[in-house]
Amino acid sequence: MAGSRTSATEVIGRGHPWLSLAPALCVIAVLFGGGLVLGLAGSFGMGRGGWSLDAWAAVLGEGRVWRSLGLSLWIAFASTALSCLIGLGAALLLRRRFPGQGLARLLFQINLTIPHAVGALGILWLLSQSGFLARIAGGAGLIDGPAGFPALTQDRHAIGIIAHYVWKEVPFIGLILLANMQSIGDDPEAAARSLGASPFAAMRLVLLPLLRPALIRAGAIVFAFSFGAWEVPVLLGQSSPPALPVLAWQRFTDPDLAARPEAMAIAMLIALVSALLIRAAFAGRS
């Protein structure tokens, strides 16, 4: 009896969880859910005189869309894998105590504050065939002219785009892992060491599995962003095939309004693939 009275008081006192969440849920539902629903409706031709699957059929039947999808998947997978790997390594180094640790952490985090577009311009200035590195190579007599420098931006393999995402996301992954390591503490590894594990074995068999959920979560965010964002591929990517978000943006801004539903279908495709892959990553975890 006492228990049920307490829970009744709690419900009255704090309100039902759904009720408490309602204001935030409303904003999310209207802004994000609404956008999604309108986008989906647009892809089925809503507002253009009836519903149809034409836009989806056109998009899925177009080779260029599939090539763009392939390129975007490559960009997202490569950026996520490299960011996770380097971010993990950096976090493992930065968690140790050493003189100047505070400064090192600050420098590590600093590019979190730089906007993507600015970072992408920086990469362009650094890596393009007329960029800083190319000029140094030219000055040192290593190459004859801009064409002698390997194409690292607007290139087939999207190296410039991946370099930008890695540069930008390594601190993000690193920070999440550092915070996670702080809450895990040293004891799990200490327990492993006391049971006979070498420092490397303790890290591999105990610390890394404990960090895995956080790494997957952070990786999913990086994947979703690098798969769906368009400003960096616009600045650093090749024009054919463009990354999938760039293709959606091109169709959306096409003077021919008939291309709009296709833009919506591509955008929905991006959201769908992203959601499915992230779902698979989380399922693999458990």
Partner: protein, 345 residues
Amino acid sequence: MTRLTLDTLDLRHPGTERPALDALSLEVADGEMVALLGPSGCGKTTALRVIAGLVAPDAGEVRFDGVSVGHLPPERREAVLVFQSGQLFAHMDVAANVGFGLRMQRRPKREIAERVAEALAQVQLGDLGHRRPHELSGGQRQRVALARALVLKPGLLLLDEPLSSLDAHLRGEMRALIRRLQRETGITTLVVTHDQEEAAVLGDRVALMLGGRIHQIGAGAALWNRPADLDVARFFGGCNFISGRSSGGGFDCALGRLLLPEGAPSGEGCLTLRPEAIEPGEGENALTLRVIETRFEGLLTRITAEGSGLRLEALMRAGAARGAVPGQDVRWRLPREALWVLPGV
């Protein structure tokens, strides 16, 4: 099994004023179980970590069987530390947790499986090998942590507050289990605790640690009844301290001459007796005191009484305490065998 020697260990954590270990010396005999008792913050867990090799001391030496192990990393010391929280690896099942150390020793899979089953049976968890740590109760988790250490047959077992996370009922059970396993295996064991009762039950000897060093070591009863100094007496709940002079088997103080037990130190000093040792009634060392205050503390009642300008505190059961009414006189007997003199205090 291993004989453990701690030789004047010093350790100061950076940025702290008081040292965590202050010339800490301790000898634990082969096969002995010593309880390292102390209040929180006295450095006892730090001492365990130094012995396990997880923390390096600023000075001093840790020796196993007389040989210094200062240069050995934790994984190469013959000591296993069982953490207060158990520290089971959440991503492994119970059997993998228990077999972890054997896996590190690259033992064959079959041997690991056999020894894990044996260790789990020892702690009465034979059928839970496939469970995950989060599916276990607090007591079961602690037993798995114990099995994980015992399966390695270490020379030295270090237990850090193994019972503090358990409720009273489980604590008694686990205490008996630790005691039994230690007797059966004969592994030299150092168990850290802040609980006096636990220390007395678990330890062949109890070492009281205060402020980073051992103040007294001996059988549990000796520390309770024959404290070496004022700090030890206070830690064990001593609250009656009377200054005076001990000579010829008696103690002269403001209360008159009290008869002392045999072997009590002579000279200027401080007489101490535990509050629960005071009895109501007549006899040897009987005094008349005026009751100042009584306070109900559950099973016992704490009575403060005054005589010749000195205050004494007594803890009595309800029946014995009934006669004590504030403002009235009582006759209390201070049993000779319960008195002890702290010389030079």
